[in-house]
């Protein structure tokens, strides 16, 4: 039986009915149309589905939609502001940190959690912060450079 939940997604208060066995990633992607959150493994191994829940980076495939009741969720779509792209988005673009792009949303959000907490994070912190986000294209080098650039 569906359950009514209230949550804030990218600054929008929403009320949606969800099945208990629906995951947050599926709610975001297939019901709210926020397909910027990717699904690479659905088992919490790849990090492509990373979103910020109450400011913490989590695998949205390991969170039930009902668990998001009352919480605040930020996805890649919520990073832009009236001033334009988030500095991390800009740095990822300029530093060549994006190849296929499938890990980018999660990567950027993990980096955001870090920089929100530690604005001048150093390389070891950066590597640690994105160590749950797999990338098969870049070898991480340019991703790390992009995050370092923003942390400077």
């Amino acid at each position: 039986m569906k359950q009514l939940i209230r949550l804030t997604v990218n600054d929008r208060a929403l009320e949606v009915a969800v099945d208990p066995n629906a995951t947050l990633v599926d709610l975001l992607r297939y019901h709210l149309g926020l397909t910027g959150t990717k699904k690479g493994c659905d088992l919490g191994d790849c990090g492509a589905c990373t979103v910020l829940m109450d400011g913490k980076a989590v695998n949205s495939c390991l969170v039930l939609a009902v668990q998001a009741n009352g919480r605040t969720v930020q996805t890649i779509e919520g990073l832009e502001s009236a001033e334009g792209l988030h500095p991390l988005q800009q740095a990822f673009i300029e530093k060549g940190a994006i190849q296929c792009g499938f890990c980018s949303s999660g990567m950027i959000l993990s980096a955001k959690e870090l920089l929100d907490r530690m604005p001048h994070a150093q390389e070891p912190d950066i590597r640690r912060a994105i160590s749950g986000n797999l990338c098969r294209c870049t070898g991480y080098q340019k991703i790390i450079e992009a995050i370092k650039d923003v942390a400077r």
């Binding site: 492509a48 060549g96 499938f102 340019k142």
Partner: protein
């Protein structure tokens, strides 16, 4: 610096903004009204006869719209190489691996489709299975395919020069056996597709593919449709690395279900299914004997190789050839004998993966060359410098190194890594090693025998002027090809990149064999350049008529018309343009005639301005059997130095630094070239240290997820010093050649050689897990 205006720079990729903001649409982000979802029934057994398939309960499940088996799909045989079409969409009499497809369901949602699959009842009679090369080749072994006896999917026997004679004259010969492990492509995006039939029976397949062209042809052949009624469109693709270059059963299944139901059908592979689809790097067992003179001159290589192919052939015919032919360079090697056998086993099918066929061979050989250097008392770098080929050299197997910055690559990594102060001088447990490699810039021939162009491109100017559209069927899969082609078109046309829009990945735009064998930059690049130059010619001709200035006296640079012989009065064109755009706020103000105005004039004079380009390599290579595999219009080459630390108690290896140089001809986009080098290196590092698809004794993949199939993480990856070496490739557009695969070649052997430097151990089996290294340390009685 070059005098290029657009290429050879570090412009941001065209697709980066949509990908950084989550706007880029990948296959699972798409949906259509009334779309159904498909699920597949796959074999739970490695080898069995199918006695009976009962789909009646599945069909009765509410929400199920169609259930199909081989009865619906037919038994048209397909594959990758027409020489070995050994697959059908569904198994009808026999299953050959755990995961072999038997039936499929389309239903209103994925949950229902999966439930229905669980209701299909199949009666099997289990057959003995062969799970290793040894089992498959044993006398009296169970056979997978009656048509291919002894479980041989393919065998190759080649000799160049006279190896037996040459070995007799060698001062030193060295024989080693080496094996890697089966890999998984492990792209972040699982493949998927949506098939849509329109009311006229035309099929459009949206698919996460590296080769819309090959998929189009296979769909037409298997579904019995005219090619003209099949269109394949590629959305953004989340990596492929070779695996997505072959048509997959999911694609065929979605099309069959869409045809049967009359509704769009979506199928997305699960991560577990990706491991069963496989089509990734084979397990190779190499046995090599190399002979040299005292001074280090390479004389001969005798090479045998066995490939564990899995249940079908896929790209494997090419793989078994590449495993031999890609040792022809980058060293002068006058005598080479190669015998290769690709063996069917009851496991998922292997195929092509980055560095196709050559990666394990290169690892085996470059480690052996280090052993030889040591025994001869020669520095490994000196041994390589002594033997390396130069531009213009041709290998014994007829591969022409039309450009080759091998020396520059070796010297670059030697200097940047501080080799001289480290080699042989590091404390125990620390080591440095190097290796080289080379790779094709596109296969010399298509996978099916044909005189087809390998690619076509169309450049069209917007009728209103100033905007350039590049159309191609090439496949942007993350490597940056769209940006490269945009830059090539902009450079050739003389306009800034932001005037150019690239629309690719659609078979409606022409022929392009796709993103494999590192072919697109060189081949599609040629076609795009030709098309852009054709457009430029037309614009200048129209201007010539209008201004009465010979076309040869004009050029386009940075979006402006340049008059070579002084000022020309173009005020007539300008006032005409401004009149046409009354009320617009962006009238041209420049002190020069703009491309916008010029292209508008061209349209007004001639109608839509369209230029086309095409590319097909010239006849390449020798005349021996298999000569086609390994031929290419050009070859990239690379050298790498690895610095490692080995924990002598646990066996754990930490890569501390990598120095990487690659000759990519003229770099089109420098940032993208580095990205390919760094990504290749990471994949090679994973194969060297961690990655292995493991099976249980029932032929099931044990580690079929990304927790247990271990890619390198950001914590494992060392800092990489990336050095671009630029030769000017005569056969490449603007001198460009490959980087996407050649860059993986030196990684594994550089690490192996560094581990030897750190421990004194030559390890001949991958991956170098801490347990394997520990066992080797123990066997040698090495402690701390």
């Amino acid at each position: 610096m070059s005098d290029h205006r657009v290429i050879n720079s570090r412009l941001p990729r065209l697709d980066a903004p949509v990908k950084a903001t989550g706007r880029a649409v990948f296959i699972d982000d798409m949906s259509f009204p009334n779309m159904l979802h498909a699920a597949m029934l796959q074999s739970p057994l490695p080898h069995a006869r199918i006695l009976k398939i009962d789909t009646s309960r599945a069909e009765r499940l509410p929400g199920v719209k169609a259930v199909i088996t081989s009865k619906d799909a037919g038994l048209v045989r397909y594959g990758v190489s027409p020489a070995r079409y050994d697959e059908t969409v569904f198994c009808h009499d026999r299953v050959r691996y755990v995961g072999d497809e038997i039936a499929a369901v389309a239903a209103v949602d994925k949950e229902t489709a999966e439930e229905a699959v669980g209701l299909i009842k199949v009666d099997f009679e289990e057959l003995p299975a062969v799970l290793t090369i040894e089992e498959a080749m044993a006398e009296g072994a169970p056979q997978l395919h009656a048509e291919y006896p002894r479980n041989l999917s393919a065998e190759v026997h080649q000799e160049f020069g006279n190896v037996a004679e040459a070995l007799k004259t060698c001062d030193l010969t060295k024989t080693t056996t080496f094996k890697n492990k089966r890999q998984d492509g492990a792209f972040l995006e699982p493949p998927g597709c949506i098939a849509v039939f329109d009311l006229d029976g035309r099929l459009t397949l949206h698919s996460s593919t590296q080769s819309p062209h090959y998929v189009q042809r296979t769909l037409a052949m298997v579904l019995g449709l005219p090619v003209g009624k099949v269109r394949v469109v590629k959305p953004y693709v989340g990596g492929g690395f070779g695996i997505k270059a072959a048509v997959n059963t999911g694609e065929l299944t979605a099309c069959l279900l869409a045809r049967k139901t009359g509704k769009p059908v979506k199928f997305i592979y699960s991560r577990e299914q990706v491991f069963m689809l496989c089509r990734a790097r084979h397990q190779f067992v190499h046995r090599m004997t190399t002979g040299v003179k005292k001074d280090g001159t390479l004389l001969a290589l005798q090479h045998e190789c066995y490939l564990d192919g899995g249940a079908y052939s896929s790209f494997g015919i090419a793989t078994v050839y590449y495993a031999g032919s890609l040792l022809g360079g980058p060293y002068k090697l006058p005598n080479m004998k190669y015998d290769g056998w690709r063996v069917y086993t009851n496991k998922p099918t292997c195929g092509a993966q980055r560095g196709h066929g050559g990666v394990a061979a290169r690892a085996a050989w470059e480690q052996q060359l280090d052993t030889i250097a040591e025994e001869l008392g020669i520095d490994p770098i000196e041994l390589r410098l002594k033997n390396m080929m130069q531009a213009g050299d041709v290998t014994c197997n007829d591969l022409n190194m039309s450009s080759l910055g091998m020396k520059e690559c070796i010297e670059a990594v030697r200097n940047a890594s501080g080799w001289a102060s480290k080699k042989g001088k590091l404390p125990r447990g620390k080591g440095i090693g190097m290796a080289c490699g080379f790779f094709v810039s596109g296969a010399g021939y298509p996978i099916y025998r044909s005189d087809t162009y390998h690619c076509t491109a169309t450049v069209k100017l917007a009728e209103d002027g100033g905007a350039v559209q590049v159309y191609s069927a090439s496949a942007e899969i993350g490597q940056g090809s769209d940006t490269a082609f945009g830059m090539i078109a902009a450079e050739a046309l003389g306009v800034p990149l932001d005037c150019v829009r690239v629309i690719s990945g659609d078979t409606d735009f022409g022929v392009d064999l796709g993103a494999y064998s590192s072919r697109q930059t060189l081949m599609t690049g040629h076609a795009v350049k030709e098309a852009a130059e054709e457009v430029k010619r037309q614009v200048l001709e129209a201007l010539a008529d209008e201004l009465k200035v010979p076309a040869a006296d004009m050029d386009i640079k940075e979006g402006r018309i340049v008059f070579k012989n002084g000022l020309v009065d173009y005020s007539g064109i300008r006032s005409r343009y401004i009149k046409e755009h009354r009320g617009w706020s962006d009238s041209p103000q420049e002190d020069a005639l703009t491309f916008r105005e010029a292209s508008r004039i061209a349209y007004l004079a001639k109608g839509t301005i369209v230029g086309t380009g095409k590319y097909k390599p010239p006849a390449l290579g020798g005349t021996f059997k298999g000569a086609a595999v390994g031929t290419s219009p050009a070859y990239g080459c690379s050298a790498q130095v690895a610095e490692v630390e080995v924990d002598l108690e646990t066996g754990k290896i930490v890569i501390e630094k990598m120095t990487d140089a690659h000759d990519c001809g003229r770099a089109i986009n420098r940032t993208s070239v580095e990205g390919q080098m760094e990504g290749s290196l990471a994949m090679g590092m994973g194969e060297a240290l961690f990655e292995e698809v493991k099976f249980d004794d029932r032929g099931r993949v044990i580690n079929c997820d990304l927790a247990e199939y271990k890619l390198v993480t950001a914590l494992d990856m060392p800092p990489v010093e990336t050095i671009i070496v630029e030769s000017d490739e005569p056969n490449g557009p603007f001198g460009a050649k490959e980087v996407g695969e050649g860059a993986i070649m030196p990684t594994i052997p550089a690490i192996l050689n560094a581990v030897y430097d750190a421990t004194g151990l030559r390890i001949h089996e991958l991956p170098l897990t801490s347990e394997r290294v520990h066992a080797a340390l123990k066997a040698r009685g090495i402690k701390q």
